[in-house]
C-alpha cells in the first residue's frame, strides 16, 4: 500500500499541453477518482502514475520513493484497462497467472493464488476457459483479478465500466468497491461518469482541459462546487450570471440581469465560493432545491413564471418554469402521483431557497 504524491506535474505532447501544473496527494487505502470530460487529462495522469508516460515537468512519488522515470514494469501497480486488455491467446488461469510467473513464484503458489483471487471475484468455475468465451462482465472480473493477484501497491482503473450495459455497471460498481475494501488498497479510478464517481469515491478530483478544478469528497464536490464548470459537470443545475450588490443582515444580495431581480444568499462558506473581485460570478441552484407551487408565495427569491414543459422520468418529475425570455428554471421533485403534476402553461411561483443557492466564479482556463 502506498500514498501517491504528484507534484507540479505537466505533460506536453508536442504543442499540446495535456496536463498542467497538477498537485495531488492520494492517501493510503483511499478510493480516489479522476473525473472529467474526455480529453481533460485524467487518463494521461493515470498513465503517468502507471509509467506509460513520463511527465515533462514534475515528480511522481509513491510514499517517499521518486518514481518519476521508473519504467512501468518496476512500479508494482495493477492496472485495469478500458478494453480489459486480456491476452486473447491465454486462458483465464494463464491471464491471471501472468504477473505471478513474471515474479518467478513457484508453480503451486501461483496456482493457489490464482484460485484464491478467482474465488474473490466469483469466477472459480471459469478457470480453464478461453477469455473470448466470457461475457463482458466476466472479462471485467478477470481483468480485476489479474491486477489484484500481484498484490499491487496501487490499483489503477481506467474507465473500467464504460463497455458494460447499465445494469451490469451497477453490479460491477459494488463489486469493485467490495474488492477494494477487502484488499484495502490505494485505488485510482478514472471515469467520465459522475454517478460512478459520486457513489464510489472517498475523494474526487474534477479535471477540465488539463487542470484539476477541485478536489474533495463527493458531497463537497456536489454541494460546494468551486466554479461553474464543476457545478455544471456534476449533476444538474440552474446557472445564471450575477453581479454582487450589497450585504444585508445575514444575507448577501446579488443582482441577476436575466431575472431582473435580486437574489439573496446566506453569507456562509457553504453558499459563497471564494472568488476574486474581477471574476465573472454565477449563481447555481440544484433543481431539487427549487420549490414550485401554483399558490402565490411571499418573500425573497420568489419568481413568477409559466410552466413550459413537464418531463416524467419515472422516479422523478422535472418541471421547467419560464420566468422570462432569458431565464428558464428547472425544478425536480420525486414522483408523488399524477395529482401533483403541474400542467403546461400554468402560472406558477418558483422559490430558490437562500440557503441552497451557491455563488461561484467562472472557471479559469475554460475556453
Amino acid at each position: 500500500m502506498s500514498t501517491v504524491n504528484l507534484s507540479e506535474i505537466t505533460k506536453q505532447f508536442g504543442d499540446v499541453t495535456a496536463v498542467k501544473g497538477l498537485d495531488l496527494v492520494i492517501n493510503e487505502g483511499e478510493f480516489f477518482t479522476f473525473l472529467g470530460p474526455s480529453g481533460c487529462g485524467k487518463t494521461t495522469t493515470l498513465r503517468m502514475i502507471a509509467g506509460f508516460y513520463f511527465p515533462t515537468i514534475g515528480k511522481v512519488k509513491f510514499n517517499d520513493r521518486d518514481m518519476t522515470s521508473v519504467s512501468p514494469e518496476k512500479r508494482n501497480t495493477g492496472m485495469v484497462f478500458q478494453n480489459y486488455a486480456l491476452f486473447p491467446h491465454m486462458t483465464v488461469f494463464e491471464n491471471i497467472a501472468f504477473g505471478l510467473k513474471v515474479r518467478k513464484l513457484k508453480k503451486h503458489v501461483v496456482k493457489q493464488k490464482v484460485e484464491d483471487v478467482l474465488k474473490k471475484v466469483r469466477l472459480e468455475q471459469f478457470i480453464d476457459r478461453q477469455v473470448s468465451q466470457l461475457s463482458g462482465g466476466q472479462q471485467q472480473r478477470v481483468a480485476l483479478a489479474r491486477a489484484l493477484v500481484i498484490e499491487p501497491d496501487i490499483l489503477l482503473l481506467d474507465e473500467p465500466l464504460s463497455n458494460l450495459d447499465a445494469r451490469l455497471r451497477d453490479e460491477m460498481r459494488t463489486e469493485i468497491l467490495r474488492l477494494q475494501r477487502e484488499y484495502d488498497i490505494t485505488t485510482i479510478y478514472v471515469t467520465h461518469d459522475q454517478v460512478e464517481a459520486l457513489t464510489m469515491s472517498d475523494r474526487i478530483a474534477v479535471f477540465n482541459v488539463g487542470e484539476c478544478q477541485q478536489v474533495g469528497t463527493p458531497t463537497e464536490i456536489y454541494n460546494q462546487p468551486v466554479n461553474d464548470f464543476v457545478a455544471e459537470f456534476i449533476g444538474e443545475t440552474n446557472i445564471l450570471p450575477v453581479e454582487k450588490d450589497k450585504e444585508e443582515g445575514p444575507n448577501f444580495i446579488y443582482k441577476s440581469n436575466d431575472l431582473n431581480e435580486s437574489i439573496h444568499v446566506n453569507n456562509s462558506d457553504e453558499n459563497i465560493a471564494s472568488y476574486e473581485d474581477d471574476n465573472q460570478l454565477y449563481m447555481s441552484v440544484r433543481p431539487e432545491a427549487v420549490k414550485v407551487d401554483e399558490k402565490p408565495m411571499e418573500g425573497i427569491n420568489v419568481f413568477s413564471g409559466t410552466v413550459e414543459s413537464v418531463q416524467f422520468t419515472g422516479e422523478s418529475v422535472h418541471t421547467f418554469v419560464n420566468i422570462n425570455e432569458n431565464a428558464t428554471i428547472k425544478a425536480t421533485e420525486l414522483n408523488r402521483g399524477p395529482s401533483t403534476y403541474l400542467i403546461e402553461g400554468a402560472e406558477v411561483y418558483a422559490y430558490l431557497p437562500e440557503s441552497q443557492v451557491r455563488i461561484i466564479p467562472e472557471s479559469k482556463g475554460d475556453v
Binding site: 502507471a50 513520463f54 492496472m79 486488455a85 491476452f87 501472468f98 504477473g99 513474471v102 500481484i150
Partner: protein, 561 residues
Amino acid sequence: MLNAEKRKTIYLLNPVVLILIGYVLYPSISTLIESFKQNGAFSIGNYTDFFGPKAAANLEALWHSVYISILSVLLSALIGVPLAYIFNRYDFPGRQFFSNIAIMPIVLPSLVGVMAFMFLYGEVGLVPNAIKDLLNLSKVPFQIGGVSGILIVHAYTMYPYFYMTASSALNNIDPSLEEAAYNLGSSKFKVFWRVTFPLLTPGLVAASLLVFMVSMASFSAPFLLAGGYRVLSLQIYFSKMNGDLEMAATQSVILSMVSIGFLLFMRWYQSRKDYRMASKGIGAHRSEVNNPVLKVVMVTLGIITMIILLLPHATLLILSLVPEGAWTWQTYPQAFSFENFRLLFEDPNIWDPVRNSLIMTTLACIGVFTFGMITSYALVKRSFIGKNLLDILVMIPWALPATVVGMNMILAFNKPSVFSFGEVLVGTFWILPLAYFIRFIPLVVRSTNAVLEQMDDSLEEAAQNLGAKWFYTFRRIVVPIILPGVLSGTLLAFVQAVGEFPTSVLLYTLDNRPISIEIMNQLRMFNIGQAAAFGMIQVGLIAIVMFISYRFFGVKSENTL
C-alpha cells in the same frame, strides 16, 4: 536524455536498417552506378543508347511490356470479377467447392504453369491435337504462342488477384446498403452500377496496379513463349548473357523506375481516405438460385471453370509419368510409368536440385520469418523519425521485378564488400538464398503488419504493468498473437521461393541449381517427362506446406495473397 523506450527502439532498428541498407539499398545503388558507366568511365551513354535509334529494340521492348501488362490487367479483371460476383452472390450446389478451386492457379509455380500451357495449347499441345484428330482436320485448329500465349498464361495466373480482392470486397459490403437502394426505388442494374460497383473500385484499382506490376516483371511466360517478341524483363537477361552488364543495369534501372513509380502511386492511392464499411458483423447474403434451368447453367459453368483451371495441373501430372524417350515425334505420349519419380531417389543428379531448393528455400524462410517479424514490429508499434522512408525501403524488393533483383545482386556482390564480409558472393551457394530472402521480406512484413495493426497497444502495456520486461512481453504476448500473420507471409514466401525462376536463372551455379533451373535444363534436352516430374515435386512441396500450415497453425492460403 534517452529514455528506455527510445533505447529499445534503437536496438530494434539497428539490425533492420543495417540489413535493408546492405542488401536492398546498396545493391540497387550499385546497379544505378553501373548504368552510368561505359567502359568503366562515367557517361550517360547507356541511356542515350536505350532511348536513341542505336538500339531500337530496347524501346520496343519497353512498349511491348507496357502493352502486354495493360492487356493482362483487362483480361484478368474480365475473368476474376464476374467469377467473384457469381461465386459470392449466388448460392447453388457445389458453390463452396468451386470457389475453393478458383484459387488453384496460385499453387502452380510460374515456370511450371507456362510449361503446362505449352503442352496443353501450344503447337504440340494435347488440346489442339486432340481436336484435330477428333474432327479429322489437316492441321491444328489453334495454337498459342507469342503474345497470345503470354496473355493467356498471364490471365490464368493473375486473375486470382482480381478474384480475391473482389470477393473480399463483396463480402464486406453491408447488405443494408444495397437494400437501402432497393428501398429507395432503384432497379437491380442501377443498384449494381451505382452502389455495389463504386464500393468495389478501391479494391479493383489496387488489384489492377498489382497485376500491372506483376506482368511488367513477368519473366517465365515470355522466356518460354515469346519467340522473337521482345519484352523488357527478358532483354535484361539477354544483355547479361551477352556480357553487357552496363546495358543490363540501364535496362534494370528503367524497369525499376516504372515499378517503383507504381509502388508509390499505389501507396498514395491506398492512403487516401477510402470508404470502409463502418458496420460490423456482416452476414453473407447470397441469393439462392431456384430456377432449375439457371441452376443447371450455374453448375455447368462451375464445372467448366473447374476443368479449365485444373487442366494444367492434370497435364503436369500426366506428363510427369512419361518416361524419357516415350514422347518424341508422336502426337501423344506412348508409355507411362513412375520412372521419373524413381530416378529422383536413385540418380543424385536428379535429386540434387530438389535438395538444393529445399535447403535454400528453408534458409530464406527462416530469414524472412525472423527479420519480417522484427521489421514489422518496429514499423507498426514504434515511433521514430524516417519511418515512412523505412517503410518504402522495405517494400522496394516487392516492387522490383525479380530480374532486377537478380541484376542488383550480381552488380553488388561480384566484388568484395563490407556487406558480404569481404567475399565475392556471385558464383557461391549463398547468393541464391540471400536473393530469395531479399525478394520475400515484403511478403512477411505486409501480412504481419495487418495483424499487428489489429493488436491493441494496451495488451503490451498490460503485460508491462504486470511486471514483464520488454523481451518477455514480446515472446509471450506479441509473438503468439501475431504468429498467424507471420506464418501466412512465410508460407507465401515458401510457395514463391520453391518455384522461383527469374532470379535463379541469373544467379545459379551448377552446385546450387534449384528445381526450376533443372526444369529448364530438362526442357532444353526435350526430356519433358522429367521436367514435369520436377514440376510435380514443386507443386507437391507447396501443397504439403500449405496443408501443414492450415492444419496446425490455421493459416489459410486465401489469406496470403
